[in-house]
C-alpha cells in the first residue's frame, strides 16, 4: 500500500506465488517495512485496538449467529439459551455485548486523538471522511445489534430510532413503514435488523481497508504534526509499531476483561432482561451510552424535524472538519488556544452524554440547549475563527528534533492515562445509570451476598432453602421458565445430585404430546424439562391475579435495578458491586406496610410496599414467619425466606456465575503476565530508537 516493495521471498514456492500475486510484498510493505513516525504516543495504539475489536466482534458475532433465532417469539429465549446452555455461550455473549461498548470507547478516543492532533488536515481529508463513514456504520450496526435480544429496551429503542425517520416531510410515514415491514416494530423488523447486523460489520471491514490504504498513502500523522522527511524520522512498522500496538491491545484487554468477567451488566440496562412487550413502554427510554450525546442534541431541539436534523448534523459536521478548520498548524500542542478549546469541547461532549441520560425536564433541557449550541459553535464558529486569529507556537523542524527534545523528559505514564479514561468513561456511564432511577421509591439497603465480588460463590444451603420457598410459595403465581430441572444438578448450582434432580422433576406433572391418538397427556417431569409455569398464558395469569401479570422469575434479579447515584456508580465499577437486583428483590419481599403512610392514596386491590416503584403493588404480602419449614435449623423468618429465595433466584438468573468469576481470575492472571512481558519486550525493542 505504500508503493512497490523490494520484498523477495527466498523459498521457491513462495517465489512462484509472489510472481503471480505479490501479496507477501503487499503485506511486507504495509505492515513490516512501512515507515511509521518515531514519535507516536500511546493514543496512536487505538487504531490497532480498533482493528482488534472489529475482529473480536465479527468472530463472536458469527458464532452467536449460529445459536440465535431471529424471530420475535423466540429471540429473547434463544439469547437466554445461548447464555445458559451453549458451551461458553455466556462468555461469547459477554464478549460481544461489552465488546460493542469497548469498540465505541476506543473509537471515541481515536476520534478525539485525530481532533487534537489535526489528523484530518491536508493531505488526510479522505482518510478522515472514511473514518466518519466507519463511525456512522458502527452506529447503525450497534443499534441493530442492540435490538436483537428483543428485550424491552431493544424493542422500544427500535421504535424510537426508526421513528426518527418519520420527521422527514411528506415521506416520513412511508419510510418508517418501509423500515418496519409492518404497521409497527415486529417480527419483520427483527428479521431485517438481524440480516443487516450481520452484513454491516463486513462493510465496515471493507471501509477499514480503504481507511488504512488512505493512511498508508498519506502517511501517519504524529504528535508534532510535521511530516516525516528523512529516514531518521521513522522506524519500520515491525517490530516497533507492532510491539507497541500489541502492548496497547494487551492493556486494553485488561480493561475489556474487567467487563466481560466481572461487570457484564454494568453497561447494559436491566430493563432489557424483560422480554419485549409492545403494550408497555419502560419509564425511561435511554439509548446505550455511546449514543447519549447525540440523543441529548435530539431532545434539546423542541421541533421534531429540526431535532432529527440537528442530531444527524452533529455527526455529519465531522466530515466537513478539514475545511472548517483551516489552520496551518496541525497539532494542538503548538496551538495554545485550540488546545484549551479542545478540552472544553471534550467536556461539552461528556456533558451532553450525561444529559442524554437525564429525564428531559427542567434544568436539564436548558443546559442541554446551551451545550448543543456550544457543540455546533465549536465547529462552525470557533475553529474557523481560531484559524484566523490564533498565533501558533513554532513547530519542530522534524520528527527527529521532536524526539530529541523530549529525551530526558519523562514519557507519558500509561497508568494515569488509563485511569483518566476510566473516569471519563465512568462519568458517561454514570449518566446512563442514573437514568434508571426508580422514581417514588426508597433505595433498598445493600445486603451482603456470598456471590458478590471477584471470588463470589453461591451458598448451596441458601439456594436449597430458596428453592423450597420458591416451590411452596412463589410458584403458585410465578413461573421459572428458563430453568430446567437438570440445572439443579449442574456445577455451580444448588448442589443436588443427578438422582435428586430426577426425583425433584418427577414430582411435577408436565404436559407432553401429542400421543398416537393425537392427544396431549401429562407425565411426570424429567430432568430435561423446564419448571412448568403456573398459568397457561398471560391472559389466564391476569384473570387470576386481579389484572396484574406475575412476572416470570427466571431473570428477575437481573431485570430489576435501582439507581446508585453519584459517586457510588463510579466506586461500584471498582468494587464490582452489581447486586442491585438481589438487593431490590429481598427488600421488596420484606417491604410491605400494613397501613400506607398518611396521605398516600392506595388504589383498590393494591398493597403498600416501600420499595416498589410507585409503592402500590398488586402482589399481596407473600411471606410470613413460619410459613415454610426449614430442615437445617435456619430461622423460619420472613427476612431469612426473602434472602434465601433471592439467593436461589440469582442463581436462576445466572447459573454460570461461578464459572464466569473463576475463569475471570485465570484470565486476569494471564493477561497481567502477558502485559508485563509485552511491556518489557516493547521497551527492549524500542531501546534502539529512543
Amino acid at each position: 500500500m505504500s508503493g512497490p516493495s523490494d520484498f523477495q521471498p527466498t523459498n521457491p514456492a513462495l517465489k512462484w506465488i509472489e510472481r503471480r500475486l505479490p501479496i507477501m510484498g503487499l503485506m511486507h510493505s504495509s505492515f513490516v517495512a512501512y515507515p511509521t513516525p518515531r514519535n507516536l504516543n500511546y493514543w496512536w495504539t487505538f487504531g490497532a485496538i480498533l482493528s482488534f475489536m472489529l475482529v473480536v466482534q465479527i468472530l463472536t458475532g458469527v458464532i452467536l449467529a449460529m445459536h440465535y433465532t431471529p424471530h420475535a417469539d423466540m429471540a429473547f429465549k434463544s439469547v437466554e439459551l445461548i447464555v445458559r446452555d451453549v458451551n461458553y455461550g455466556w462468555l461469547l455473549r459477554n464478549i460481544h455485548a461489552s465488546g460493542a461498548s469497548m469498540f465505541f470507547f476506543a473509537v471515541y478516543i481515536h476520534m478525539f486523538r485525530g481532533l487534537y492532533y489535526g489528523s484530518y488536515k491536508e493531505p488526510r481529508e479522505v482518510l478522515w471522511i472514511l473514518g466518519v463513514i466507519i463511525y456512522l456504520l458502527m452506529m447503525a450496526t450497534g443499534f441493530m445489534g442492540y435490538v436483537l435480544p428483543w428485550g424491552q429496551m431493544s424493542f422500544w429503542g427500535a421504535t424510537v430510532i426508526t421513528n426518527l425517520f418519520s420527521a422527514v416531510p411528506y415521506f416520513g410515514e412511508s419510510i418508517v413503514t418501509l423500515l418496519w415491514g409492518g404497521y409497527a416494530v415486529g417480527n419483520p423488523t427483527l428479521n431485517r435488523f438481524f440480516s443487516l447486523h450481520y452484513l454491516l460489520p463486513f462493510v465496515i471491514a471493507g471501509v477499514v481497508v480503504l481507511h488504512i490504504w488512505a493512511l498508508h498513502v498519506a502517511g501517519q500523522n504524529n504528535p508534532a504534526g510535521v511530516e516525516a522527511k528523512t529516514e531518521k524520522d521513522t522506524v519500520p512498522f515491525t517490530p516497533y509499531a507492532t510491539m507497541k500496538d500489541m502492548f496497547g491491545v494487551s492493556c486494553f484487554l485488561l480493561f475489556f476483561a474487567w467487563f466481560i468477567f466481572y461487570m457484564p451488566n454494568y453497561l447494559g440496562d436491566a430493563e432489557n432482561y424483560i422480554p419485549a412487550n409492545p403494550a408497555v413502554t419502560p419509564a425511561h427510554i435511554v439509548p446505550e451510552w455511546y449514543y447519549l450525546p447525540f440523543y441529548a442534541i435530539l431532545r434539546s431541539i423542541p421541533n421534531k424535524l429540526a431535532g432529527v436534523v440537528a442530531m444527524f448534523g452533529a455527526i455529519l459536521i465531522l466530515a466537513f472538519l478539514p475545511w472548517l478548520d483551516s489552520a496551518k498548524t496541525r497539532s494542538s500542542k503548538y496551538r495554545p488556544l485550540a488546545k484549551q478549546f479542545f478540552w472544553m469541547f471534550v467536556v461539552v461532549c461528556i456533558g451532553l452524554g450525561y444529559l442524554g441520560a437525564q429525564p428531559p425536564e427542567g434544568i436539564y433541557v436548558i443546559v442541554g440547549r446551551i451545550l448543543t449550541f456550544l457543540y455546533f459553535a465549536y465547529f462552525l464558529i470557533l475553529l474557523p475563527l481560531l484559524a484566523r486569529i490564533e498565533k501558533p507556537r513554532p513547530v519542530p523542524n522534524s520528527i527527529a528534533d521532536d524526539v530529541l527534545a523530549k529525551t530526558g523528559g519523562k514519557p507519558a505514564p500509561m497508568v494515569s492515562t488509563v485511569i483518566a479514561l476510566m473516569v471519563a468513561g465512568g462519568l458517561l456511564l454514570g449518566g446512563a445509570e442514573s437514568a434508571r432511577a426508580a422514581e417514588g421509591s426508597t433505595k433498598p439497603p445493600a445486603q451482603k451476598w456470598s456471590f458478590s465480588g471477584p471470588f463470589g460463590k453461591f451458598d448451596r444451603g441458601a439456594m436449597q432453602r430458596g428453592l423450597k420457598v420458591y416451590k411452596e410459595v412463589c410458584a403458585s403465581c410465578h413461573g421459572l421458565s428458563f430453568v430446567a430441572f437438570r440445572n439443579l444438578a449442574e456445577a455451580g448450582g444448588p448442589g443436588y445430585s443427578v438422582a435428586q434432580a430426577q426425583a425433584f422433576a418427577s414430582e411435577y406433572k408436565v404436559k407432553d404430546g401429542p400421543n398416537d391418538q393425537g392427544e396431549m397427556f401429562e407425565r411426570p417431569g424429567r430432568p430435561a424439562d423446564y419448571f412448568p409455569s403456573p398459568f397457561p398464558n398471560e391472559q389466564a395469569a391476569r384473570a387470576a391475579n386481579g389484572g396484574a401479570f406475575p412476572p416470570d422469575l427466571s431473570l428477575i434479579t437481573k431485570a430489576r435495578s435501582y439507581s446508585r447515584g453519584f459517586p457510588m456508580f463510579l466506586i461500584d465499577f471498582f468494587t464490582q458491586y452489581q447486586e442491585q437486583g438481589p438487593d431490590y428483590v429481598t427488600a421488596l419481599l420484606q417491604g410491605y406496610e400494613d397501613k400506607p403512610p398518611a396521605g398516600f392514596n392506595l388504589p383498590e386491590g393494591s398493597f403498600y410496599n416501600t420499595y416498589f416503584p410507585g409503592h402500590a403493588i398488586k402482589m399481596p404480602k407473600p411471606l410470613s414467619d413460619g410459613q415454610v419449614t426449614y430442615d437445617d435449623g435456619s430461622p423460619a423468618t420472613v427476612a431469612q425466606y426473602a434472602k434465601d429465595v433471592t439467593h436461589f433466584l440469582m442463581w436462576a438468573a445466572e447459573p454460570h456465575m461461578e464459572a464466569r468469576k473463576q475463569l475471570g481470575l485465570q484470565v486476569f492472571v494471564f493477561l497481567i503476565l502477558l502485559t508485563v512481558l509485552l511491556y518489557f519486550t516493547k521497551k527492549k525493542v524500542w531501546a534502539n530508537a529512543h
Binding site: 520484498f7 507477501m24 515491525t238 437438570r486 534502539n688
Partner: protein, 238 residues
Amino acid sequence: MRSHGKGANRTILDCLFRRNGGRKSGFSAAAGAAGAGSLLRGARLRGSGAVPLAADKKGLEIVTTASSADHPTRRDFLYVATGAVASVGAAATVWPLVSQMNPDASTVAAGAPIEVDLTPIAEGQDIKVFWRGKPIYISHRTKKQIEEARAVSVSSLPDPQSDEARVKPGHDQWLVVVGICTHLGCIPIAHEGQYDGFFCPCHGSVYDTSGRIRQGPAPTNLAVPPYTFVSDTKIQIG
C-alpha cells in the same frame, strides 16, 4: 536474516542454555534485537528471511546500550517468553470458540433414554421412533424372518455378524436398529429389497431381516442402538 546474524535462527534451547553472552558484538546484538522482536509476528517472517534490519538501516546500532550488549541471554529469554505466553493465550482462546459448536446442554439433556411400549406392534409390523434425532426401527419379526436371518452363513456376509448377536436373548422377535443407511445416511425403507429386510433408495444398499448389509455400497450392518428390555413389552433406548 540468516546472513546478518544468529538472532533469527536461534532456538528456544539456544536462548535458554547459552552461557557466554559477552562474546557478541554490538552490531549483531542490535540486529538480533530487530530480528528476534519480529519472532512474535510469526514464522512467516523468519521463513522468508526478510526481516528489515531497522537498526542497521537507520544507523542506530551504535545506540545499543551497554546492558543489552552485556546480557543478550536475558533479552532473548524475554522475547521467547513473551512469544510463548502469547501463543498459549491464543491457543486457549481458540478452545471456547470451537467448543461452542458441540451440542448444547439442552440438546444433550434431550438425548436422554426413551421408553417404548411394544404392545401395539403386531407380528410382521414395525414402527419408527426417534431418539437423539435418529430414526430407530423396531421390528416385530415373524418366525419366517427370524429363520431367514439365521439360515445364512455368517462368514459369507460382507460384515459378518450372527443374528443372535444383534438381538437380545429371549427376545428374538424384536429387531431394534438405527434406521440410517451406513453408506451415506439415507433412511432405508422397511420390508423392501430381495432379502425381506430394508432397502435404501439412495444408492441401492440392501439389508436383510437382521439389518445386515447384503448387497450394495454400504460398508457395515445397520447399527444396533444401546437398549434394554425393561419388561417383556417395554424397552428403554439409550
